[in-house]
Amino acid sequence: MEKLYTADEVDICVIGAGHAGCEAALAAARMGLSTILFAINLDSIAMMPCNPNVGGSSKGHLVKEIDALGGEMGKNIDKTYIQTRMLNTGKGPAVYSLRAQADKAKYHTEMKKTLENTENLLVRQGEITDIVTENGEIRGVVSESGALYKCKAAVICTGTYLKARCLYGDTIIESGPNGLRRANGLSDCLKKLGIRLFRYKTGTPARVDRRSIDFSKMKEQPGDKNIVPFSFENRPEDIEREQISCYLTYTNEKTHDIIRANLDRSPLYSGVIEGTGPRYCPSIEDKVVRFADKTRHQIFIEPEGEDTNEMYVQGMSSSLPEDVQIAMYRTLPGLENVRFTRTAYAIEYDCIDANQLKLTLEFKSIKGLFSAGQFNGTSGYEEAAAQGIIAGINAAAFCKGIEQLVLDRSQAYIGVLIDDIVTKESREPYRMMTSRAEYRLLLRQDNADLRLTEIGYKYGLISQERYDRFLAKKEAIEKEIKRIGKINFGPSEQLNSVLEGFGTAPVSTGINMTDIIKRPEMDYDKLAILDTDRPQLDYDIREQVNIQIKYEGYISRQMKQVQQFKKLEGRRIPDDIDYDNVKGLRLEATQKFKAVRPVNIGQASRISGVSPADVNMLLVYLNSLAL
């Protein structure tokens, strides 16, 4: 840098204004810290460069948790959705999957509006190329124009922009997503700071012109009639609006033939791509090669917004050359005459090995420097936002000198996500999945507020009014469950005719209402006719009462597992432990422990490649320290 000038002095700088950066900046500013949010282009704030939706299996849980902590994603999608569906409703309350199609442009506009109207927060266009540290502590960030922004803490949320390149077959363009400028400077600066970088890859399908599609050859997928908001602050009736449909079509052997014939032109198979791609986001050529015996693959056509004719072709991400793409898209029923508006591409980018982070998302080696989102090796808007709010809260807590927030695996999907990325070995971009949450019966999307509102309130992200409403809801649930527990029925004709009416066995002795609700055919609402003193309760309260009573046996078993888990989490490992002094550890375990530096025995036991015997030796050592 030839000429540095001090441009500003604030508490927190957030680098990158995607889904992680927005949540981080909002949390920090709302906690009262002066904050600047940098974006390479202010018109790409909260951009959705890939799929036009928010939520889905386990990701919906993340959005609800972000909302319960006082984050923005749930509110923003509630403002801008064009279709919403609750999926998986038959598979158990813990795996309900709320997903909304977003109007991408409006999603951006609304988020930008919120940022611009938040006190203590400034959005600023510019590429950050340097991070200034002193004695292992952050001092400021520098933009490409030579402006130094002094700060006490910073959050890096560069998404897929770092040294990014996009691949369209043999055409390679050095750019960030969607043709935007990439960020060039920061990678080198991070390397100089001793931070290990990975090279990951992901991809996106083409966008096509709605007018060139024959929807009559596809299956329409409308939204749900009864909508469920993402934000606990919204009621369904407040956000009702007309919904836009998606459509389903399929690939066929013709599509697959074209792909096979042109594999040599795919950068993935010709070895041009260096990055590691996610298994759960395979390109269409990947699917055809790996699952050669499948004769067809599902393809969903999804609108990108209300005011655009562009549509997203889910399932057809590809890095084949453009001419091959067009030919193969046109083999799909309904897409015979399709016209592209944007070509599918694969994108490679720098990200970090998140094992270098603490559970607070602060770098172990640099005080006050936090990071979140795709930069941490994850994928997905929701995963990014979830880390963003935690990094924002913790950057602010760092500045204020108060306790930082770590959610554990029994508290939230966010806890599972962060614990996984900072503890386990990363082989590919990380996607949240319900099967990663071992206590998922407790981590339901419906009870995210019960789990996390208290925490959001403590950090000043939940208003008093909302908190009071939350307390009232909680009390109403507990009161109603207690009341139900006291209701006993004698065997009567009225009772039995109701029971038989719902297809469940009549009773010959007395029965508690709780036990009737537990029957597979029954639920809380169905018993309203027999329950003459039942108070008028809102849907969300009735839902909690029903779930907590109906699945009580399974839930309490899981709570017992959590007790065991908590015991291991409670065994702290001192910060200054020297693993070379721990006798009997295998070399591999010593190296892993040194790299991850687990904070407790529970985390130590989850490190990939650490055996139960290693954990035992560590326990032995800790006990000998205590003696």
Binding site: S57, G92, P93, H297, Q298, E438, R571, A626
Partner: protein, 455 residues
């Protein structure tokens, strides 16, 4: 999912060597008091949880509605206990049968059978025992069985882990189907129906049951056939013992009993593992003119898998002999008529006995043949049946069985898939404990290798 478990509750019989009719069941862990309370009834209706630490209480132990024994219960609350956990010791009076029945009741209520040395290990891990050298403890943690048994068990273990792996693989496939459908709700790949899951679970359950059924045979290879030599004084018990010991071409060892600390010796002749109990008693009493206690014989007989009942061919049947015949009637017993070299005066009918002469070393191989036949050992060595050995493995299998039964119950109650997944995962993990495998990324790996998923 947890690689180490600090908080489950363990139990074992911990009676000191040579004690009479009293047996002690020791329970240690978070739930020790809760478990004891769930089977203990005091005449005054006292609840142990509400009593002071380091107190003794009189009452009875019940299991499934039946009274097992009158007991004294010592209550010791953490941290001033041997393990620094809550400890309850149940002192029974009704002999070996009663003490094992109490242990079974304790395990049914949620305790896990302690591994050898586990109370001591906990005492250490909880900082109770002063061992500063970590290496000293690594021996406890990695406690190895002695070589002679290890050899005999190794082959069977190989088969066991192969069988466990297959069962786990079938469970994993079901899990991957369920989890893939949950993770990708709109995906149209063939999903498993409930009847497929039920069928698969029942198959897995049957295989687990078969393994559990082999526990006794597996235990024989691991621990040896618990054998007791009974007979009146001077019948030749110590001579027989010495003959058997001499024939052992492997290693003679002392087994620190996990259940009882009766002095015993492990021998392995021609693939027949014998664990001869109370060898000290045989040596101490046999040559001395002393009437052996019937009580002691009864206790030994109750404990044994096999009784070698010796008669003196040169003397007539005595009352003592008759008493021994009576108390071994329901047990696996091989009658041996010794002193074939002397003039025959014994006249017993209805008993199929082997005539031996220890002095001339005749009839000994017949004893081995009879044992082999009795315990079907020939079949096991040559068959490909997997066997489980060790109480820890059995406990893991029993838990896997429970989880699989939960799955079937969940399916029968038409509860949603998520609840099926919960118990399938738990069964998968319980089986993994036997082969030392943890869950990690198995399910996710399986999902993406089996199904074509993703946007």
């Amino acid at each position: 999912m947890l690689k180490v478990n600090l908080s489950d509750t363990i139990a074992a019989i911990s009676t000191a060597a040579g004690s009479g009719g009293i047996g002690i069941v020791r329970i240690s862990g978070n739930e020790a008091i809760y478990i004891a309370d769930s089977i203990f009834i005091s005449p005054k209706g006292k609840k142990l949880a509400e009593q002071k630490s380091h107190t003794i209480h009189y009452g009875s132990i019940y299991d499934e509605g039946n009274i097992i024994d009158e007991v004294l219960v010592s209550l010791m609350k953490a941290p001033n206990t041997y393990t620094r956990e809550d400890v309850v010791e149940i002192n029974t009076h009704g002999g070996y049968r009663a003490v094992t029945a109490v242990l079974k009741a304790v395990i049914r209520k949620g305790a896990r059978l302690a591994e050898p040395g586990e109370f001591t290990k906990r005492a250490f891990l909880n900082g109770r025992i002063d061992l500063t050298q970590a290496e000293a403890v690594s021996d406890i943690i990695n406690a190895k069985t002695d070589k002679s048994r290890e050899l005999a068990v190794a082959r069977l273990k190989g088969r066991l882990s192969a069988e466990i792996k297959e069962i786990r693989e079938s469970i994993l496939t079901m899990l991957a189907h369920i989890e893939a459908a949950i993770a990708y709700p709109e995906h149209d790949d063939e999903t498993m129906t409930y009847s497929m899951i039920e069928k698969g679970t029942r198959e897995a359950l049957a295989r687990v049951d078969r393994l559990i059924a082999t526990a006794d045979t597996g235990k024989i290879y691991n621990d040896g056939i618990k054998t007791v030599i009974l007979g009146k004084p001077n019948v030749g018990k110590s001579s027989l013992l010495n003959t058997l010991l001499e024939e052992d071409r492997v290693i003679v060892t002392d087994i620190p009993g996990t259940t009882r600390d009766v002095v015993s010796e492990y021998i392995n002749v021609g693939g027949i593992p014998l664990n001869i109990i109370d060898t000290a008693g045989i040596r101490a009493t046999d040559d001395i003119i002393e009437k052996i206690g019937v009580d002691k014989s009864r206790r030994l007989a109750e404990e044994a898998d096999l009784i070698l009942l010796m008669f003196d061919g040169s003397r007539e049947l005595s009352d003592e002999d008759r008493e021994l015949i009576a108390l071994t009637r329901d047990k696996k017993t091989i009658a041996l008529i010794n002193k074939l070299d002397l003039e025959r005066r014994l006249d017993i009918k209805d008993i199929d006995a082997i005539n031996i002469s220890i002095k001339n070393n005749t009839g000994i191989t017949e004893i081995y043949d009879r044992i082999k036949e009795m315990f079907a050992l020939g079949d096991i060595e040559s068959s490909n049946e997997a066997l489980i050995s060790g109480e820890r493995n059995k406990a893991s299998l029993l838990r896997a069985k429970q989880y699989l039964e939960n799955v079937i119950e969940t399916v029968e109650n038409t509860m949603p898939e998520d609840f099926v997944s919960m118990d399938l995962t738990a069964a998968y993990e319980a089986l993994g404990e036997i082969t030392g495998e943890t869950l990690e990324e198995d399910i996710i790996d399986k999902i993406f290798s089996e199904f074509c998923l993703g946007k």
